[in-house]
Symmetry: C2
DNA sequence: TCCTAACTGCGTATGAGGTACGCATCGAGC
DNA sequence: GCTCGATGCGTACCTCATACGCAGTTAGGA
């Protein structure tokens, strides 16, 4: 029942005195700059030294505002998603908008997927998104548990997609590349990998095809949820 | 079209001389021990120094077998999942077995989710699992692209679940804990988070409930895929 | 008005970690 | 037995996170 300092700060439960000099550094500015660095160059490129340099201060100055680098990462993770979007009416349109918004967040800030709070998620940003997702089912006959499971299934799907997407982004070669198709074609032989070889022979990695995998899979998932909703009507 | 050294080793395309002393260290032993450490203590606890100590050698000796720590991580990631399971007949049972096998892999080796090859996935282990997943649809009327999208959707779902699971595991507090329910209940107020507050009031985080979220969501996804399959029959 | 205590910025130093470089040793094939 | 590629590893360097403590700043009380 002891609330960790990190959560106290995030929920605004920390009382503040105001003696001393005007702060040249603020938590908001530190977090925003750290997010910029992680977005542009990846989480591995974010060091306290580089961050301080970008802020025009000394590395140790950051520790007046942040207990550790790990705490900074939690602050970043909570701030980066921003407010969840307003959802259109109807659970399918609503949850679809929620899922696409979350996908955009993860694609813009792929490092979020590498951050662990070291504790079950209780940051206000995470909570706000979960609440918004659940609200998509307002007015439907689903129980609380069914709504939660549907939102979590969607979250799993979106996070998983974003994770794979992040893997594909790293490095110069792209899956959409001819080189990738050629390479995978030369390694995947029909005797060892019959199903995949057949798919490749079918043109699976042909470069011209537009990628709609995310939307297609999301439709499958939503179709399944729709079955559940309709049985309760 | 240039195959990176890492892939050459994994696919067995590296020619080997055999002069010199009997190797005290082998790649297999290094990788297996590294996996043990990462499984037990997490990826952060895996350092070249600790690994060498566990192997009874000096840190720099490892670099005779591994180009860098990053390469070691790729080797680990490829070796840890092992062979994909044989699938029972029927796409739904088959893909279900595949998904549960993959879930078990990620739960046993959660650090896999933090490893990035820095390049689109071309390791033989990954390819073998993908091929096995696609094979679940042998005999169904789905096109190659539809099969691929169904398998990828399942992969997204499983990876996302494993990622959230890994987040919940870290730290001593558990979501199943009373303390977590009390804490989230005190932070989530109906005015700021109406949908979530209602769900909590409904007993969403009551500690006694068995967690079947993974299976439930997977059933939704498979229901949606089944709709697609049935329209093609 | 002045003093004091809280608060800020930061210089120094420590220890962990990855790895480049080069030397010493080993042993299969000539 | 000689040679040359392969192996093990000691040393050294660089990057990083961060503990500690000093010095400067300013709001609130005397």
């Amino acid at each position: 029942m002891e609330i960790p300092r990190t959560l106290k700060v995030l929920w605004g439960l920390e009382e503040r005195r105001n003696r001393g000099p005007q702060p040249a550094l603020t938590l908001d500015r530190i977090v925003a700059t750290a997010i910029e660095i992680a977005d542009r160059d990846g989480l591995a490129a974010l060091s306290m030294a580089r961050l301080a340099e970008r802020l025009g201060s000394a590395p140790m100055s950051l520790y007046r505002h942040v207990a550790s680098k790990d705490e900074l990462l939690v602050f970043m993770q909570d701030a980066a998603p921003g407010e969840p979007p307003m959802l259109p009416p109807g659970w399918r349109a609503g949850l679809g908008a929620w899922a696409r918004g979350l996908k955009a967040v993860f694609h813009r800030h792929p490092w979020i997927l590498q951050v662990s709070a070291g504790r079950p998620p209780l940051e206000p940003g995470q909570i706000a998104w979960l609440d918004r997702g659940l609200s998509a089912f307002d007015g439907t006959p689903l129980t609380s548990r069914e709504r939660f499971q549907a939102v979590m299934a969607t979250l799993y799907y979106v996070r998983g997609e974003a994770q794979i997407f992040a893997l594909l982004l790293t490095g110069e070669a792209d899956v959409a590349d001819d080189a990738y198709g050629a390479l995978i074609g030369s390694l995947v032989t029909a005797d060892r990998f019959p199903a995949l070889a057949a798919a490749i022979a079918d043109g699976l990695f042909a470069p011209e095809v537009e990628d709609v995998t995310f939307e297609t899979g999301l439709s499958r998932l939503f179709d399944g949820i729709e079955l559940l909703v309709s049985t309760k009507n």
